[in-house]
Every structure is written in C-alpha cells, then in structure tokens.
Amino acid sequence: VHGGFALAIGSALVNGLMAGGKHPVSIIPYCIVGFEGTILCGTLANLAGVLWHARLGRPALPAGYDERFSRDRFGLLVACEPHEAGAVRSALAPCGAEDIRVV
C-alpha cells in the first residue's frame, strides 16, 4: 500500500524531470495527494474495522432473532444453561416483557 506522499514523491522520482533547475520533488503540492490518501485509506480501514468487529458479512442471523427487532421491539437474550432458564425467566418477568421464550 502506498500513501499519498509516497505515491507523489515516487512518481516524481521515476519521471525525474528537472524543470527550471528545480528538484523534481515538491512537497507543498503533494500535501493534497497526501491528504486525499489519508481520507481514503482512513475510510477504507474504518469500513474494514466495522465489518470485522460488528461481524458483518454473514447473512445468517443469530438464534432467536425476531424480525420485530428492526421495527419497533427491543430484545434481550440471556445466555444460560437449560437448567438455568427458570431462574432467568423469573428474573426478567417483573420487567414487563411481552414475550419470554427459550431459544
């Protein structure tokens, strides 16, 4: 991967065109290319980060997912062993759940 500055400086050195006795590399105008590279690669890395950490890209939905969660309902999944289900139910019951089920 080449950043904006590396791309601009590398290109100038490959071309090696001397104009008016000046060095082919000129840092000030390359700041624009460096800036665009910063934004572009920062955005792509940000996208990669959210895809990775939010586990996106896997079409399978989690067990017990209810389609109402994308509409107007809120869900809480408490992971537990089968023998603990009763205890979880009784802990959640006073909170006004519309539906409680084992998944």
């Binding site: 080449h2 950043g3 904006g4 791309l7 601009a8 590398g10 100038a12 050195l13 490959v14 065109l17 105008p29 390359y30 624009i32 290319v33 590279g37 910063t38 690669c41 920062g42 955005t43 792509l44 890395a45 940000n46 996208l47 990669a48 980060g49 959210v50 895809l51 950490h53 939010a54 996106l56 896997r58 079409p59 399978a60 989690p62 067990a63 389609e67 109402r68 969660f69 994308s70 509409r71 107007d72 309902r73 809480l76 999944l77 408490v78 992971a79 537990c80 089968p82 979880v88 802990a91 959640l92 006073p94 909170c95 006004g96 759940a97 519309e98 539906d99 409680i100 089920r101 998944v103």
Partner: protein, 543 residues
Amino acid sequence: MSELTYNEINDGVLSPLRPPRRAYWVALVLLFAGIGAALTAWIIQVQLGMGVTGLSKPVGWAVYITNFVFWVGIAHSGTLISAILHLVRSRWRTAVSRSAEAMTVFAVMTAGLFPMVHLGRVWVFYYIIPYPSQRQLWPDFLSPLIWDVCAVGTYFIVSSIFWYVGLIPDLAAARDRFGASHGPVCWRTRLYRRLSLGWCGAASQWRHYGRAYLFFAALATPLVVSVHSVVSWDFAMSILPGWHTTIFAPYFVAGAIHSGLAMVLTLVIPMRRLLKLERVITIDHFEALAQTMIVTTLIVGYAYVLEPFIAWYSGDEFERQFALFRETGWIAPLYWALPLLNVLVPILFVFRKVRRNLKALFAISILVNIGMWLERLVIITGSLSHDFLPHNWLSYAPRPVEITITIGALAFFLFWFFGFTKLAPTVALSDVKEDLLRGRRRAMEAGEAEEADSASREAPRLARSAPGVLAIFKEPEALLAAIRRAKKAGFGRIEAYSPMRLEAVEDALGRRTSPVRYWTLIGALSGCMAGSRWPSARRSSTA
C-alpha cells in the same frame, strides 16, 4: 413527527418500496431515452471529433467543464447534511439525509462522465490513473488536474461507503418486512438480506457501527471542503484574469453547498409527495434547509461583491478590463443573472412564509440550480474568451451535441435517483427512530447512574447460536431494567437487540469504546505517509 410510533415510521418509509405504478415506468423510459440521446451525441462526437462542439481557440473549456463543476458542487450538500450536521448533532438532518447522500453519489457519477466526454480521445483516459505503465510514464502530481482526479475519486469512494454503511440497518428493516410479507425467496427479501450483511441490531453491532459512523463523518467533513477547493484550483492556479484569485476555494465551496441544498429541495419536495412521506418529512425540515440556504446565499453574495472589488482594488489593468467585460460584454446578461438568481431570489427565505411554502421553495430551488449552473458557465467561458490579448477575444455558444449531452446527463442523474427511491429506504429509519426516542432520553439517562457499578464489568459477546432465554419488550426502558436485573441475578452473558442505537443500553452492558478507532487511525496514517520507492526509481537513482 413526534406523535408517530416506531411502527408507523417503519411502514411510512418502507411502503414506497412496493412495485411501482405505470407512471413510474413511463418516467423511467423517458429518462432512459434522454440517456440514449446523449450517448448517440457522444458517439457522434467521438466519430467526428471535437469540432462538432462549440469549443475552439481560445474557449477550450465550456459546457462540459461547466457540467463537471456543477455536478461536483451538487454532490456537496449530501455530505454536508449527513456528515457535518451529524457531527454538530443537528436533529433535522435525519429526514432528508439519506436522499441527500444518494444525490451526492449520483451527482459525482454524473460529474465523472464529463472529463471523459471533454477529453475527446476517451480511450486514453487511463493515462491519468497512477499506475506503473510499460513506458514508466507517471502522472505529474504537480498538476491541479491530477489533484482533481485524486480528490473527486476519493470523494466518490468515501461518499458511496458513507451512504451504504448508513443504509445497512435500514436494509435490515426492509429485509425483515419483505421476509414477513413476501417470504424468504422473494427477490427483494434476498436482495436486502445480502445487502444488510447479517445486521441484527445487536448492541455489540451498534457500538462499533456508531463509532465507525462518527469517524466516517469526521473524515468526510474535511473532504467536502477539500474537493471543491481542489476543483476551484483547476482555475485559480492559472494566470487568467478572473480565475487567478485566492477567494476561489471558499467561493466554490459555498457555491457548491448553495446549489446542493437547492437540489435537495428540488428532489425531495416531489419525492415526499409521490412516496407519501409527508408524516416523516415535514415542512419543518424544509424550513431548516431554507434557513441553511440563507447562510450560503450571504456567502455567495459576498463573493459576488468581492470579485469586482478585488479587480478594482488590485490596480491590475487586465483584471479591471475583464471585470468591465463581464459587466458590459456579450456575457453581461448571464453575469447579471447571477446575483438575481443566486442571491436576490433565495434571500427571500428570510421570510418565514416563503420558507414554509412548498411551491415557493420548489420554484426558488429550481431558479438557484439554473443560476448556479450559469455561474460556472460565466466563470469558465468568460475568462477564456477574454484573456490578455484583444485579437484573441471570441465568444462562445454551445452546439446541439453539447446541449444533448448536458440534458442527457440530467436524465442520467434522475434515472439513478428514481431507481433509488424504489429500491432503498429514502429516509434514515434508525436515525428518525432515535430522534423520537431522544425526547424521552431523560428517563433513559436516569437509569444510567445505576449502571455505574455494573459498567466496570464488560458483558462478553455471545456466539450467534448461544442458547438462552429471549425476552421481547415494547419500550427501551423495560429493556434497560431487564439488563440490570439479569446482571444482578448473576447472568453476565447477555445481548440486547434494538431498531436504533441505544447508548444507555451499551453502557448498561458495560461495553467499552469500540476498537474501530485503531483501524481508522492506522489506515489514515498509512494513507498519508506509508510506501516505498519503486525498484525503477532506485535503478534510475543509482544509474
């Protein structure tokens, strides 16, 4: 809008995704015909050469470059509304941000056509792309035209990603709605399932999503300013009278946002009516847009006053004669139309009655669009047609090929926008729902104090197939209470699901700041600096 329920918002925004009526198809065919006509005109131009256009010496840039600058400018307000207003927590943006983002992407696509159309020999367009060719000829990064390629290319990629990432939770809502009504094998359900990338609205997803969206906004904000500044330097870096001025960057950026906001009004006012979105997109949203336009109107007006003032104050003979030419030469009718269309007409938005009148808003937005297109034409052709040498002065008029391609480009833009309105949610569903909830935020925040002790322990993330007990709640407050009770009862492996981001829930779950920030930082630093010299460069330096 505050009287709506989450379900009503869902229905209101997703209902327009139903199969279109005949009028929609007729409009689509007409737009397609416009694109076909432009394509035909372009093929004629490629076959016969640039002589079929009105371009000549000295006016080598005219309508095509005008269109490029105009459409890049149109693209600006989408990112302004989405990114900048997101950073400043402006609430009114949510209803129009999605359409504005879509407009941004389609406008950049339209703008991107014109450098190729203008090039004439389109088959050598790839010369401008920085890659190691067999001749070792690389683009010169000292040229503003190459900066333009970098800036507009970056803007297109960043805007597209920003738009798509914002769409993911809403595509999941569309997936669930069509899955329930049409079944899992319906093409729309399958399309939205693929595009939503397995989004389930888990708190662990919202945490990373919220952080990443903030970074997208933070990265896009300076990009908005940079892109049109770079476009303005295509002109300002030259020495032509009228172009060689330091006000061009802010002048272009303000003008771009001005025209972009006008285009949002032009598109969203009829879209709201046709898709029956009146309850979600209200007159208050349009009023806020109009108020923002007052600011851009004043900046553009200031630039219009400043241009002739600088010409006079500089004492430069060429600048003075050029200012006089604009005011009295063949271009004068167009020049004098600019303050009328771009300043005096939109300044009417200072009156509340005008801001809240849809017909007035729509009419003014169209006049501003025309005015801003003319502004670019006056800037570009004016300086070229009246430079330092009187024997070189000439006028310019577009030929049918240029006019056809210009109209076809508008059809191209509208074609994509029409497609968008029937394939994706046109309003940011999760953002609008979050806005609704914000009114009740105090109740949510009251519970946060109680989370302080539990927040120190981060709830581990669950596997997708983890067995357990699932509880469904109607209100987020109940969800919060349930999380507290579950943690108090000793159950730490929990996950919450919601149709919008709930920061209080993330806090209650004890989740810490998303590590996405490290990805972004490393990406940005490597994008700026990282790299090495090419082997050929080493060869030449050692030779």
